[in-house]
């Protein structure tokens, strides 16, 4: 046993612990809560948006900028809203 270790025996237990231990424990707890929300799946929305657009474009000429995809997350459900503005000409032809 080194002299330093011997002397450490006389320190109060609270000080010997150090606040770093508390820091580590607090981080582990908060990250366990946050990670499911922040370390999600790769964002599939851009790819999905492109594919939805491709399908619609097969039938109707549309403007990419007129497509809106939104995800709303609430406590126990998520809502996916897709809104596409169709040009008038496309609709009259269909009817």
């Amino acid at each position: 046993m080194r002299l330093r270790d011997l002397l450490d025996l006389f320190r109060s237990p609270g000080r010997a612990e150090g606040s770093a231990t508390a820091a580590k424990q607090r981080l582990q707890v908060i990250l366990a809560v946050e990670r499911p929300l922040t370390r999600g799946q790769p964002d599939f929305l851009p790819l999905m948006q492109r594919e939805i657009l491709d399908v619609i474009r097969k039938y109707v000429p549309i403007d990419e900028r007129k497509l809106k995809i939104e995800v709303e997350r609430e406590a126990d459900m998520s809502m996916l809203a897709v809104s596409i503005e169709l040009p008038n000409a496309a609709l009259t032809r269909a009817i």
């Binding site: 770093a20 231990t21 580590k24 981080l27 582990q28 922040t38 999600g40 851009p46 790819l47």
Partner: protein, 271 residues
């Protein structure tokens, strides 16, 4: 093959710009051709840290939006061969960084440079997304302190889900931890998270540990990347990190406190 590396952290003030400058300069000192880009639109600082603030004529935003050519905006470092700086503008226009514009600049830089280092702004706003979006690798700069570790964890989540690699399903980006402002005395006293703690929490490989070193401030006062002062411990630690980035195996230094004499130890306890 050209590598695009983002230097990011989430939290501000942890040493992102200092680290981006030191790593870019270190890579250039190792003979690589390097460009370091400031993504902190509105609050540019890389120019000051690199000591080129009075040489800025055109910037990143002019290249994206005003038809200025890249070589009109790139600033060649006068001290280190092969090192170039692309400063950003002080505009307050949040849309100045368009994804297409950034992509075009980065593609062009890839043709010219071995390494493109993207110095990210703090936060998780658009500038930070743009800095990481096109990256092949990420250096996550973290201080051994709770808020910095939490923010780094958040940034790791974003790297894994919002980067172009993630969106294209190209597999996870290589991520490295750079632990900065590491104060060995405080770690020894149990007052500061130690490297092992941070590694256990963030679970990414360590690129380097930069000890707390007053030289870092002196170098920023003078506008020189800290690696230009080879006697400084921080400079040696950054150069070790650079060698690891280049694939060398380099043992970690400055992670255990130098042995203190009994007298020193007594003095510290009574202080």
């Amino acid at each position: 093959m050209s590598q695009v590396i983002v230097v990011t952290s989430g939290k501000g003030g942890v040493g992102k710009t200092t680290s981006a400058a030191a790593i870019a300069a270190g890579l250039a000192m190792k003979g690589k051709k390097v460009c370091v880009i400031d993504f902190d639109v509105g609050l540019r600082n890389l120019d000051l840290i690199m000591g080129v603030e009075r040489r800025v004529v055109f910037d990143f935003i002019n290249v994206i939006n005003d038809g200025i050519r890249l070589n009109q905006a790139l600033i060649k470092d006068k001290r280190i061969e092969g090192l170039y700086i692309l400063p950003t503008s002080q505009t307050r226009d949040k849309d100045a960084l368009s994804r297409e514009g950034v992509e075009k600049v980065i593609d062009e830089l890839r043709q010219e440079f071995d390494y493109v280092i993207c110095d990210s702004p703090a936060g998780i706003e658009k500038g930070a997304y743009m800095a990481l979006y096109f990256a092949d690798e990420a250096i996550v700069v973290t201080n051994p302190e709770v808020s910095s570790v939490r923010d780094s964890d958040r940034i790791l989540g974003i790297l894994n889900s919002k980067s172009r690699r993630a969106e294209r399903g190209e597999g996870p980006m290589r991520q490295h931890l750079l632990l900065t402002r590491y104060d060995l005395d405080r770690v020894a006293r149990g007052e500061m998270l130690k490297l092992e703690d941070v590694l256990e929490i963030l679970a990414i490989p360590v690129l380097g540990v930069i000890p707390q070193d007053d030289t870092v401030l002196q170098c920023s006062n003078l506008g020189m990347p800290v690696v230009l002062d080879p006697k400084a411990t921080a400079a040696q630690a950054y150069m070790d990190a650079v060698r690891r980035l280049l694939g060398e195996t380099v043992e970690l230094r400055f992670t255990t406190p130098p042995r203190k004499s009994f007298v020193n130890w007594l003095l510290r306890r009574t202080a």
